[in-house]
Amino acid sequence: MATKKILSSLYFFIPATALILIVTEIFATNELVSEGRKIHDVDLKIETVSNENDLLASQIASASALATIQQKAKDNGFIKPANYLTIGPETVAFHLPQ
C-alpha cells in the first residue's frame, strides 16, 4: 500500500521536475543569448578605450619630443651656455686610500 503510494507520487513528481528543469533551461538560455549583445558592447568599449590609450601615448610622445622641449626652453628664456666649467677632484698632497 505504502509502495503504491510512493510509486503513484513518483509518477507525478518526475515529470513535474523534468518540466521545471526544461522551463528553467529555456529561461537561462534565453538570458545567456541576450548577454551576447552586452559582451559585444563591452568589446567595443574595450576597443575604444584601447584606441584612446594609444592616442594619449602619441600625445605624450609628442609633448616629450626634443624639438618641443627645445622650443619650450627657448620660450622660457633658457639659452645654451657659452662655456662649461669642470670641477674635478681636489689636488691634495696626501689622502688616505678609499
Binding site: 538560455t29 545567456l32 543569448v33 541576450s34 548577454e35 551576447g36 549583445r37 559582451i39 559585444h40 576597443e47 584606441n51 594609444d54 592616442l55 601615448a57 602619441s58 610622445a61 609628442s62 616629450s64 619630443a65 626634443l66 624639438a67 662649461y84 669642470t86 674635478g88
Partner: protein, 557 residues
C-alpha cells in the same frame, strides 16, 4: 485503368522531379549554400595586429602606431552623391571627380574613400553625419620626433595587396618582426547581429608586432642633425653625413644625413632621398684612409712612429708623379709627421714598404669592399677591383685614399677597430627586440676579427692624436681633450678624371683617445667656403665632440 496509369506516371514524374531538384540543392549546390548560410549566422571579425614601435636606447619612441580610420562609402545608401562628395571633399583631400565616378559605378557596394585617416579628421567626418559614410579600424605610423633619423628608420608603405610593408632602413630590415599577425574571431550571431554566447566561437588572438629598441641615443642624434644642418649652411656644402658609433659594441649612436625627408609624408619627397647615404652611397675617403694603411704597416713592423721617410720632393710611381696636397716638402720626416702633414708622398713610401700583398690584405682585413652587415635594408658596398688588377699606381693612390671607394659606415667601422684594441666590430642599429609578451631578445655585439694587435692600435692612436694636435685642424680642437683623428680632402671623380674644384671634405676620429666613448665620421660634399677637410669637416667634428663631452660628462684632462 488507363487513367489510373496516367495519374500514376504523373505522380512518379513529379516525385522524380522533386528528387532531382533535392539532389541539385543538397549535393551539387550544398557547398555554396553552406557558405551562404554561414554568412547569415556566422560573424567573422578581424582582430588587427598593431605594428611594433621603434624606440631609442632609453625606450623613448621614435616611431609608433596610432589608431586611424579607413573611410569608405556605401553607394546603395547615398541618395545625393554630388552633395556627399562635396561634403567629404571639404574635410578630406580627395579627388572629387574620381570619387563621384566610383560611386556611380554599377554594382559597387563598397567604395574606399581614404586610408589611414587620423582621429582628428575622422571626428570631423563623423560630425557631418552623412548616410553611406562608414569607418573601419586602421592604423597610422606616427613619428613623435618628426623627421629625426628618417633615413635610419625608413617608412611604411603598402605592398601589392595593399597591406602595410616597411621600406628602407629599420622598417624594411625588421619588417617581419614589426608587422605582427592579425587575429580573427568567428562567432555565431543572432538576427540583430549580436553574438550568441553559447554558440560556436573560434578566436585567434592577434600577435602584435615587436618593439625594436636601438643603440641610438635621440639626444645625440638630435645634436648631430642640428650641427650638420648648421655646418651645411656655414660651409655651403651640397650634402653631408655624420655617423657616430660606440667602437666597443658597434652600436650606432647617431646617423645624420642631409638632405633628408619626412617619413610621415614620404610620397612628397623625391625617391632618391629615401636611401641612407651612410650605408648606400660611396665616396673616395682621401687622407682619412692613411690611418688604415699606416696601421697595417705598423702591425707588420715595417715602420715605427719614428721611422724616417724621405719627403724631399714628389714621389715617382712609374710614369706618374705624386705630390703633396700643398706642394710643400719637408725633407726627412718621421711616419708620425707623415700623418701630421698628411703627406701623400710619405704614404707612397709606406705603401712601397708594404708591397701589394700586405697592403691589400690590410684593406681586406679592415672590411673595405665588403658590406658591413649592419641591420639596415639598403646597405650596399662599392666593389674593390680584383687583387690581380691592382697596378703600382693604384696601390700608391689607395695609400692616401684616392682611387678607392668606401661607404661612410665601412670607414667608421674600420677606424672603430683602431679605437677598440684592433678588434673589428659588426655595426648594429638595433639593440633588443621585445615581443608583445615582454620577452627580450638581445642582439649581442659581434666581434668579426682582430685586424691589428692591441699594441699597434695604441701606437696608431698616439699618431692620430699628434695629427690632431699638430695638424692643419689643430686650431679647431677643444682644449684639454685627447682626440685621435685625421682630416681628409678627396677630389671627386667626374667622367674619368678628377674635378679640381669639387671635393669631399671629411674628418674621422674617436675620443676620449684613452678610453673611446665614440668614433665619428663627418663628411661634407662640395663645401664651397673651403674645399679642405681641416677647415670644414674638422671644426664640425669638434663642435659635435664638444657637445658629446658635455652630454656624457667627460671632463677635460
Amino acid at each position: 485503368m488507363r487513367r489510373i496509369w496516367i495519374v500514376f506516371f504523373i505522380l512518379v514524374s513529379v516525385y522524380l522531379g522533386i528528387l532531382i531538384r533535392l539532389f541539385y540543392w543538397q549535393v551539387i549546390e550544398s557547398d555554396r549554400l553552406r557558405v551562404e548560410a554561414a554568412k547569415q549566422y556566422a560573424l567573422t571579425l578581424t582582430l588587427p595586429a598593431s605594428r611594433g614601435a621603434i624606440t631609442d636606447t632609453s625606450g623613448t619612441s621614435l616611431v609608433m602606431s596610432q589608431p586611424a580610420s579607413l573611410v569608405y562609402a556605401s553607394p546603395a545608401i547615398i541618395k545625393d552623391p554630388i552633395t556627399f562628395v562635396d561634403k567629404v571633399a571639404s574635410v578630406l583631400p580627395v579627388d572629387s571627380k574620381d570619387l563621384l565616378g566610383s560611386l556611380g559605378q554599377k554594382g559597387r557596394v563598397w567604395v574606399p574613400v581614404a586610408h589611414k585617416v587620423n582621429n582628428e579628421v575622422s571626428e570631423k567626418l563623423k560630425a557631418l553625419r552623412l548616410d553611406g559614410l562608414g569607418f573601419e579600424n586602421d592604423s597610422l605610423r606616427y613619428y613623435p620626433e618628426g623627421s629625426m633619423a628618417a633615413q635610419l628608420l625608413g617608412f611604411v608603405g603598402s605592398d601589392e595587396n595593399g597591406n602595410d610593408k616597411g621600406y628602407f632602413g629599420l622598417e624594411g630590415f625588421y619588417d617581419r618582426e614589426l608587422h605582427g599577425k592579425d587575429g580573427v574571431i568567428a562567432i555565431e550571431k543572432d538576427v540583430r547581429g549580436a553574438p550568441i554566447v553559447i554558440g560556436d566561437t573560434k578566436r585567434i588572438e592577434p600577435e602584435h608586432g615587436s618593439t625594436i629598441r636601438l643603440w641610438l641615443d635621440r639626444t645625440v642624434q638630435y645634436d648631430a642633425e642640428q650641427r650638420l644642418r648648421e655646418g651645411i649652411e656655414k660651409y655651403g656644402a651640397k650634402e653631408g653625413t655624420v655617423t657616430i658609433m660606440d667602437p666597443k659594441t658597434g652600436g650606432i649612436l647617431a646617423m645624420a644625413s642631409y638632405p633628408s625627408y619626412d617619413p610621415s609624408q614620404f610620397t612628397q619627397f623625391p625617391k632618391d632621398v629615401y636611401k641612407n647615404p651612410i650605408v648606400a652611397s660611396s665616396y673616395e675617403p682621401g687622407s682619412t684612409f692613411k690611418v688604415l694603411v699606416m696601421s697595417t704597416a705598423l702591425d707588420h713592423k715595417l715602420v715605427t712612429p719614428d721611422t724616417v721617410i724621405d719627403e724631399s720632393g714628389p714621389a715617382q710611381v712609374g710614369e706618374y708623379s705624386i705630390r703633396t696636397w700643398n706642394n710643400q716638402y719637408h725633407g726627412n720626416i718621421t711616419t708620425t709627421k707623415v700623418l701630421e702633414y698628411s703627406s701623400n708622398v710619405g704614404m707612397v713610401s709606406v705603401s712601397k714598404l708594404l708591397g701589394k700583398d700586405l697592403q691589400l690584405s690590410g684593406i681586406h682585413a679592415f672590411g673595405i669592399g665588403k658590406e658591413t652587415g649592419i641591420d639596415l635594408e639598403e646597405e650596399s658596398s662599392p666593389e674593390l677591383r680584383s687583387d690581380n688588377d691592382w697596378k703600382p699606381i693604384d696601390l700608391a693612390t689607395a695609400s692616401f685614399g684616392q682611387g678607392i671607394a668606401v661607404t661612410p659606415i665601412q670607414m667608421v667601422r674600420a677606424v672603430g677597430a683602431l679605437a677598440n684594441d684592433g678588434k673589428l666590430m659588426e655595426p648594429h642599429v638595433a639593440r633588443q627586440i621585445i615581443d608583445q609578451k615582454g620577452r627580450v631578445i638581445d642582439i649581442k655585439p659581434k666581434q668579426l676579427r682582430q685586424v691589428i694587435s692591441p699594441a699597434t692600435s695604441h701606437i696608431i692612436t698616439e699618431m692620430m692624436i699628434a695629427a690632431v694636435d699638430n695638424g692643419e685642424a689643430k686650431w679647431a680642437k677643444p682644449r684639454g681633450y685627447r682626440i685621435a683623428g685625421k682630416t681628409g680632402t678627396a677630389q671627386i671623380p667626374v667622367a674619368g678624371h678628377y674635378d679640381d674644384k669639387k671635393t669631399i671634405a671629411s674628418f674621422v676620429g674617436f675620443a676620449p683617445a684613452d678610453d673611446p666613448k665614440f668614433v665619428m665620421l663627418v663628411t661634407l660634399q662640395e663645401p664651397t667656403s673651403s674645399p679642405w677637410g681641416s677647415e670644414t669637416a674638422a671644426p664640425l667634428f669638434f663642435n659635435i665632440a664638444k657637445d658629446l663631452f658635455v652630454y656624457y660628462g667627460i671632463a677635460p684632462q
